[in-house]
């Protein structure tokens, strides 16, 4: 059977989304087609609002509806500790832990010469001026533990050294609640290499 063109277009658009294959896209499109108008409108509306209403915080580059994000404008947050992350989505992950009460700075990527991502294309100058002008005493580097993340951490550590702040890096190692015997060898190997004295 020939698929009607509007349905085909919807399938094509949906399958461009991450982790959506052709079959899932088809199922979603058919599901939408059979939904009532109200639901469809509400979905369209929410998608349109995403880009229209959400921008970036002028201080930390987090997602924000206002000029300052909810975290930067919250008086209860500890303004002396700053956590540096790659992307705004990383803030969501750290916030979910409820372990961190400081503020953030989003780099907008990591150093990757191959992808043309350099110091200039990241929010590093902004980070420096923030650190110079604020009451921040401690910086935590929370970048991904891959080659580019590590190299960016090394770059920042060196760059921030003259500011005489307390600089630390999140530990990489074994997952909590995971038994040693079930962790992959490389993780254990790295955890042993990066052991800390007690």
């Amino acid at each position: 059977m020939q698929i009607p063109e509007p349905l085909q277009i919807a399938i094509d658009e949906l399958s461009k989304l991450p982790s959506i294959g052709r079959k899932t896209a088809m199922r979603l499109a058919l599901h939408l087609l059979s939904s009532d108008q109200e639901r469809i409108d509400s979905l369209i509306h929410s998608i349109a609002d995403l880009k229209a209403k959400i921008g970036f915080c002028t201080d930390c580059f987090n997602f924000s509806v206002n000029e300052l994000c909810d975290i930067c404008s919250n008086p209860k947050r500890d303004k002396t500790i700053l956590c540096v992350v790659e992307e705004a989505s990383d803030i969501i992950a750290i916030e979910r832990t409820n372990e961190f009460s400081g503020i953030y700075h989003v780099l907008g990527g990591v150093l990757s010469p191959l992808d043309g991502s350099s110091v200039e294309s990241l929010n590093i100058r902004e980070l420096l001026s923030r650190l110079r002008e604020s009451e921040i005493k401690e910086v935590i580097l929370a970048l991904n533990p891959n080659t580019e993340g590590e190299s960016t951490s090394l770059y920042l550590a060196k760059l921030l050294k003259p500011l005489s702040l307390n600089i630390s890096r999140i530990a990489r190692g074994l997952p909590i609640g995971g038994d040693l015997e079930f962790a992959d060898e490389a993780t254990i190997g790295r955890a042993v290499l990066g052991r800390i004295s007690l």
């Binding site: 150093l111 990757s112 191959l114 110091v119 891959n146 080659t147 580019e148 190299s151 090394l154 490389a186």
Partner: protein, 371 residues
Amino acid sequence: MTLNKLFLTNFRLHENTTLEFSNNLNYIVGGNGQGKTSILEAIYYLCTTRNISQSSDQEAVTFSKKYFELNGNFKDLTTNKTKVFYDNESNRKNYFLDDKQIYRASSIIGKFPVVTLTPSDHSITMGSPADRRKFIDSVISQSSDTYLKILMEYNKTIKQRSSLLSQLKDHRSAGLLQELDAWDLMLAKNGAEIIRHRINFLNDFELFVKEAYHNLMEEVEVPEIFYSTIQISDFSKIEEDILSALEKRRKDELIRGTNLVGPHRDDFVFSINGLELKKFGSQGQHKTFQIALRFGQFFFMNERLGRKPIFLMDDVFGELDTYRANKISEYLKDIGQAFITMTDFSNVANLSINETDRMINVHGGVAEYVS
């Protein structure tokens, strides 16, 4: 560990071949292009999920067929059923262990250890430093997942750094130079781990190679492996040594826009009685060294993994004189299970063959037992 049974379907010349093997030596005899090497290729697929050569999976499918399937039963303490299925249309290869699909090849690494000795091994002693690094790295990786991960991270660092250096060649800027400092630290950190692993490995491995060489050649020939890397002051200070080497070469690196320091430029120099093999070795010494390296790998893995790997030998006897062929067949008795291809039976008289060994004749993709 041994492979007891093998089934090949639409695999090169083998439309339908079933084989039962000896736990000891399995001699597979056949002319060129008759399908004997395909049997080794099939075993390698089942052990590693990968192709033994650089050829594509699709090339292994019998002409005019749509898929190939390999099945093998390994026996250690228990029996493991393995299967590789490839079909042309999806161009996908699926691996099954005891009927369960395995999605990550890395979860199979080390489970069915295998050592190969093939004519292409000549590149290890005669080829470029890259060929030798590839050999050494593959042996270390087979017994250390950590090493494999570090190696991948190091290679990424080298690529990133090379891209940055070529940007700097066109346009020098203070900002980019600071970035280079950070990549220097990354290179030093991962590079030092690689060098440490290689030093530790060679300390052990060289002993195994020496012993193997001695078993193959009773004459007084002493093989040595010299590791050629950056200038090292102390085992615990390799990171600093790399950094100071980088500092010395920075000017050159910036002018040439390329990486000039690090273990990706290392070499391993083989010698016999103090004479460099590559410069002074005879054809026979090269061959013996290649064989000793593979036997060394076998016994090294046996010690590390606590299990005997399967040994695959493709057409080694053809290039050897009677003395060496006989020595190898003697030595093979200690090996456990091995699969050895030969082009004809003329060598058989020189080999010491046991009752438990098996002789298989392959002709036009059809295999039959000779003994």
